[in-house]
């Protein structure tokens, strides 16, 4: 083991300040009963459901479609409880003027929160409709049957939902007292229905935010500084104004932007302005050669995530130590971030692919110095974002430009280099583990991690998290970054393993201020922590001389956890004690996402070209338990995509920088997995009809990464603990 030496004393040194977890949810008003899921914060039935005169339903959700298929799954839930065909459900999503405020669409919780609210609200609306019909038909609700939105009495008389609309009053608080259907009666939920958003996506008809065309619309671009925090001293306005199509040049503090008639004119003007702009100051970045040492030297807020001391480790136990490292990762959306803004009669309308229209509105209001009520934020689907990328920041760019030309909508799309250089990355992390094994058991487990914040999003009280707002004439305060509290956790997400560890201590060194702009990338700390924990489990299994599958099972009592491991081992024909041949090998890893959600076990195969140092993952197999399955094909698609993205992160990805700035600015300097490099993924789903449905968008990335690293060790006998497993590291490991 090449782990940096550290012992228990060093491990605990420097611990002190303990942050009190803060609540993300609003205070529960006195006397109010707690309602399930998203109903808790949006309590009226008409906030969620409207029955239309044509007998169909409009469903309102604060959660938004990010390509994960969530609107289809939510529509399935509503259709099921309302006894309507899926085609009669119209979804309205993410609009501060129309939908409930459900915060951000993040953390794979939409099905749990919005889905639960819709299930309960729809069941209640269904029951109210039955009561109305029973009253009109002079019968009892329990005698009525419903099919496709038509209520029938035993004698054959029928009433459609549409006929009941005039009498239906949904302006009332949900009671959540109406029992939803039993899973055994489901007709729509659990079916692999075709996703509602896909037809337009294969014909060029999809209206992404990037494709919205408003009458009189102009095109804007912002000019970014050469490095974080640089101040704009001067720029060549005359030269830019002389360019074709220029309508306005806007400066506010160190924000500089241009508006043109046509998109390519705005792009050219941006280049010219960028050329002539003089900047001063700004932050120097750490030496990339010493990046992780620098990370460990930053001021941290330290908390004990979990601690248990049952008995001291027996003497003679074998002690294993290892340190794992994860670089900054980019969201690297295929479509650079885009927003449209219109400023008319003192009010802003913003179209954005933000993950949270309401929180974004709060930060926009502060930055633009208007009341939130003067802004309407409307979600429009964009290219996949995989977390908080530039989608929120570009909305402020568009608003700052639109404010200069009242009545004219302005569309801003970032350029590829802006997208790479100015998105907030998933932070670099260091994980140190030390454990003792005796008689095939882990008798002591010590783990500490260092990480920047993962949840830097709009909507916090003490400032604005839109980066352009920090350098306006009237700058906004950059809020103090906080960790997302356990049990879901932020940087410490999945730092507490799901294994039975009678002696353990897990410490989170949360670094509020990072030298590089960071926020939420899919899984938050989960990817790096599962990579470390599950790599380390294999190292311990090896030290104990036990097969990795058997070793994991020996430390797991949760039957659902055991079931996914056993299922994937069976499906892949895992052989106890199997080892690779120097060029090929297999590895397994497991995690329960957030330690409280979806269970995933992955077996990955690797092929190593020792000459080039290239690692290829030809195949990965996953077993998944996401509770009650709403849409099996949607779930499978999320797991497949999650594994492919994780293999890309694990083998190839790393944001490059030097002391002067970010160097990853295009697909050549930040390559991702291509089709020839992608694994074939097989997914086995374990349906649990009586368990609550769980999200799956982030469940597979951690296990996939560790399975690849374990497969590499299985193939070669060498362990790589620094991500990514790129040719340089592979060649160094193989000597």
């Amino acid at each position: 083991m090449n782990a940096a030496a550290f012992n228990r004393r060093q491990f605990t040194a420097g611990l002190g300040a303990v942050v009190v977890a803060f609540s993300l949810g609003p205070e529960l008003a006195r006397g109010q009963e707690r309602l399930p899921g998203g109903l808790q914060n949006n309590r009226r039935l008409d906030a969620w459901i409207r029955i239309n005169a044509d007998g169909g339903a409009t469903v309102f959700t604060g959660k938004v479609e990010l390509g994960q298929g969530v609107l289809t799954a939510l529509a399935q839930i509503a259709a099921e409880e309302l006894d309507l065909p899926l085609s009669r459900i119209e979804m309205v999503s993410g609009d501060t003027g129309r939908t409930p405020d459900e915060g951000h669409t993040s953390g794979s919780v939409s099905i749990e929160s919005s889905g639960t609210a819709l299930r309960m609200a729809a069941a209640e609306v269904h029951s109210i409709l039955l009561d109305l019909a029973a009253n009109r038909l002079g019968t009892s609700p329990s005698d009525l049957t419903v099919a496709s939105g038509v209520i029938a009495a035993p004698d054959g008389r029928k009433i459609g939902y549409g006929e009941l609309v005039a009498a239906l009053d949904l302006k009332r608080e949900a009671t959540a007292k109406v029992r939803p259907k039993a899973a055994s009666n489901y007709k729509v939920v659990g079916q692999a229905v075709q996703r509602l958003d896909i037809p337009a996506k294969v014909t060029g008809g999809a209206a992404y935010v990037q494709d919205i065309r408003l009458p009189g619309m102009l095109h804007g671009r912002a000019v970014r500084p050469p490095r974080y925090g640089a101040k704009l001293e001067s720029f060549d306005e005359v030269a830019a104004r002389a360019m074709p199509g220029i309508v306005a040049i806007v400066r506010d503090g160190s924000f500089l932007g241009v508006i043109a008639e046509r998109e390519e004119q705005a792009i050219k003007a941006r280049a010219a302005l960028s050329e002539g702009a003089k900047w001063s100051g700004g932050t120097e970045l750490p030496d990339p050669e010493r990046e992780y040492d620098h990370l460990l030297s930053l001021r941290s807020v330290d908390t004990v995530a979990s601690e248990k001391q049952a008995s001291p480790a027996p003497s003679g136990a074998r002690v294993v130590e290892a340190t794992y490292r994860k670089p900054y990762l980019a969201h690297a959306s295929m479509g650079p971030s885009c927003a449209l803004a219109e400023f008319r009669a003192g009010r802003f309308t913003i179209w954005s692919h933000t993950q949270g229209v309401f929180p974004l509105r709060l930060d926009l209001a502060k930055s633009l110095q208007v009341e939130p009520a003067a802004i309407r934020c409307i979600f429009a689907e964009g290219a996949g974002c995989y977390g908080r990328n530039g989608h929120d920041d570009v909305a402020l760019d568009a608003a700052l430009l639109a404010r200069a030309l009242p009545g004219r909508p302005v569309r801003v799309q970032w350029m590829r280099d802006d997208e790479f250089a100015w998105e907030p990355y998933g932070p670099a992390m260091v994980m140190k583990a030390q454990a003792a094994v005796a008689d095939g058991r882990i008798v002591d487990w010590q783990y500490e991690l260092w990480s920047g914040p993962h949840g830097v999003r709009p909507g916090v009280p003490d400032g604005s998290n839109l980066f352009a707002s920090w350098s306006l004439d009237q700058p906004q305060k950059r809020p103090f970054a906080r960790n997302i509290p356990l049990p879901a956790g932020g940087s410490d997400r999945n730092a507490i393993p799901g294994y039975d560890l009678p002696n353990h201590r897990i410490v989170n060194h949360f670094i509020p201020e990072m030298p590089i702009w960071v926020s939420s990338l899919r899984t938050l700390g989960g990817y790096a922590n599962v990579f470390a924990v599950e790599s380390f489990m294999d190292e311990l299994a090896s030290a104990a001389g036990v097969d990795p599958v058997a070793f994991r099972l020996a430390h797991l009592t949760d039957p659902r956890a055991r079931a996914v491991i056993e299922a994937v081992a069976k499906k892949t024909g895992w052989k106890t004690g199997e080892t690779g041949d120097g060029a090929r090998g297999r590895g397994i890893a497991f995690a329960r996402y957030k330690t409280l959600a979806t269970y995933v076990a992955v077996v990955a195969e690797v092929e190593i070209d020792r000459a080039s140092g290239m690692v290829h993952v030809p195949r990965a197999t996953a077993a998944v338990d996401a509770g009650l399955i709403i849409n099996p094909d949607g779930l499978t698609n999320q797991i497949e995509g999650g594994i492919v993205q994780s293999v890309s992160w694990t083998l190839k990805e790393e944001v490059r920088f030097d002391r002067r700035g970010i160097l990853s600015r295009d697909w050549a300097s930040y390559p991702i997995l291509t089709m020839p490099e992608a694994p074939t993924v097989e997914v086995e789903l374990i349906n649990r009809p009586n368990e609550r449905p769980l999200g799956a968008g982030e469940a597979s990335q951690g296990p996939a990464a560790a399975a690849v690293a374990n497969a590499f060790a299985n193939a070669t006998g060498k362990r790589i603990r620094d991500l990514p497993l790129n040719p340089a590291r592979v060649k160094a490991a193989l000597g």
């Binding site: 390509g67 896909i198 294969v202 999809a206 698609n637 295009d666 291509t674 089709m675 992608a678 694994p679």
Partner: protein
């Protein structure tokens, strides 16, 4: 000077300066927004169209090269979304976010035109010009294989 060319079978004339990338004329003048801006450097494939029947990065093609040429975009691939690839993409439920998928389909259509029965390796090699961040690669391969069977 106006540049005359054809888009999806219709004669078109563009007044855009000759150095303007075809992508902007398609998206801004013709309002055919199925073709996407992804990188502007021919590294991602989101802007893929056909020019005279062969795939081309529209972000890398200047209008000066377009005189007399014929362009097909995703909107013109079939009159009624019935191209075997579009049907296969639906059947396999390929897209997640979908932003890259117009380009993927246009690349795949180019392959099937040259080689109606490609092997898996030929598919994967041909499609390496188009990246997908959501990780839908294996569904893309499956959809292309399905289209070759059902075409």
């Amino acid at each position: 000077m106006a540049i005359d060319f054809t888009v999806n079978g219709k004669a078109t004339s563009s007044e855009a300066p000759p150095t303007t990338p075809l992508l902007w004329v398609i998206r801004e003048d013709l309002k055919l927004t199925g073709t996407k801006f992804g990188c502007g450097t021919g590294l991602c494939g989101a802007c893929m169209v056909h020019i005279d029947g062969k795939r081309a990065f529209s972000c890398q093609t200047q209008m000066s090269e377009m005189v007399g040429k014929s362009v097909t975009t995703i909107e013109g691939l079939s009159p009624d979304s019935s191209h075997p690839l579009q049907k296969a993409w639906l059947a396999e439920q390929v897209p997640q976010c979908g932003y890259c998928q117009s380009g993927q389909i246009m690349s795949a259509a180019d392959l099937l035109k040259q080689n109606p029965k490609p092997t898996r390796n030929q598919i994967v090699e041909h499609m390496s010009t188009n990246i997908c961040r959501c990780g839908t690669y294996q569904r893309i391969v499956r959809a292309i294989e399905r289209a070759t069977r059902e075409a």
